[in-house]
Symmetry: C2
Subunit: 232 residues, 2 copies
């Protein structure tokens, strides 16, 4: 049975956990402190119910552990943490637990400290990116950046709009890892022709820079269930 670790307990992590479980994976979600996370009764920043409620409903199909336990458990790792915390979280997960594995990075380095809509974290934008920073910090990990340019509902269910005909970018330094991740994307419903390989992980500078325009399209249309399609 295939195993995957989802780092991050927010809406994105929950969405991936249930999708992978539905595809027959053994899934462990990683969090900083399991007892604290389950004891928390606070809604998340988007007004969703506390994680403990979601977990109570889904504990039969999803395991829960620390970041390190999850990283040790999963053959593949998915980073669904806040971009500004990702490096710290991966350090808690442990380089030894990550080494040699594929890390699917769907996070964005958003900076909420300078008003709304958020900007990108200066040190992780323009001439750098979160994807690259993860790759530099964990050289033994095969980082594949993908799916970060859309709402999480579409990430795992592209057929929800336009008959699934819209674009998902992918980049990373390891061709074999990208090929494996493409198979996962296809299992979500992504057509081969709509998975656009932009090259090495430095292309994350491009795909993470989609967020500033994504946020403004969302603001203008009041609908997050959209995506970009490259047409020519």
């Amino acid at each position: 049975m295939k195993t995957i670790a989802i780092l991050g307990t927010g809406g994105v992590g929950q969405t991936f956990a249930l999708k992978f479980a539905s595809l027959g994976y053994e899934v462990m979600i990683g969090t900083r402190n399991v007892a604290e996370k389950l004891a928390s009764i606070e809604k998340d920043g988007y007004g969703n119910p506390p994680f403990s409620e979601w977990y109570a409903a889904n504990r039969k199909s999803v395991k829960l552990g620390t970041f390190a336990e999850a990283a040790a458990f999963g053959e593949t790792i998915l980073n669904a943490t806040m971009g500004g915390s990702s490096i710290q979280v991966l350090n808690l997960a442990g380089a030894n637990n990550l080494a040699g594995k594929i890390l699917i990075d769907v996070a964005n380095p958003l900076d909420f400290s300078k008003g709304m809509p958020p900007s990108l974290l200066t040190e992780l934008s323009n001439t750098n990116s979160l994807g690259e920073e993860i790759q530099k910090s964990f050289p033994d990990v095969k980082v594949v950046k993908t799916l970060n340019t859309m709402w999480c509902g579409l990430m795992v269910n592209p057929g929800m709009i336009n008959n699934g005909d819209h674009t998902n970018f992918i980049c990373g330094n390891d061709a074999g890892a990208k090929s494996n991740v493409k198979e996962i994307l296809k299992s979500f419903g992504w057509a081969e022709k709509n998975i656009l390989d932009l090259g090495e992980i430095s292309a994350a500078r491009g795909t993470e820079a989609v967020l500033p325009v994504w946020l403004r399209i969302w603001g203008a249309t009041q609908n997050g269930a959209f995506n970009l399609k490259v047409v020519s």
Copy 2:
């Protein structure tokens, strides 16, 4: 007869000059030094023939003047200069020649000093943008940012791909100015439904941030005749 000033003699400026001339506008292209520009026999940075050759072929339909002469001539101004030079060029054009007019800004603040593909100029990106910087520097001008997210051939001829069905973003603080620019866009062939208003000029932070991913799509596909379409 309608008049327009095109600031910038590169491929983008040439494309707009001929398009507006074909639509019956009186067009003046502005440049720093007319005599020097016409005397130059150097190809441009993209290997195109020198401006003087282009101008010799098109002088019946396009006038040539200094930035200030062009700005004084045109009821409407179009900024097709390199983004890093735009503020300097507009200062040469003269605030008094620009005041009260619509300035269509199609430029991008690209930084070629840090390798290829270019990044964005730090001071004009993320928490700022060229569009905003122009608006702040020339508060009496009605800045409308649009068309900057694609190759110039598509800007003036959207029907070239996908039956014209792809997205052009527009933003600016003056609703009347945006409405006027929309009419110009329609005269180029843009359908109303494909002109997406993202709000005030600060949304240029989003549309200028398309360039990093645009450049990588271009690199991956080796085809600049593409655009993004928002699908939902």
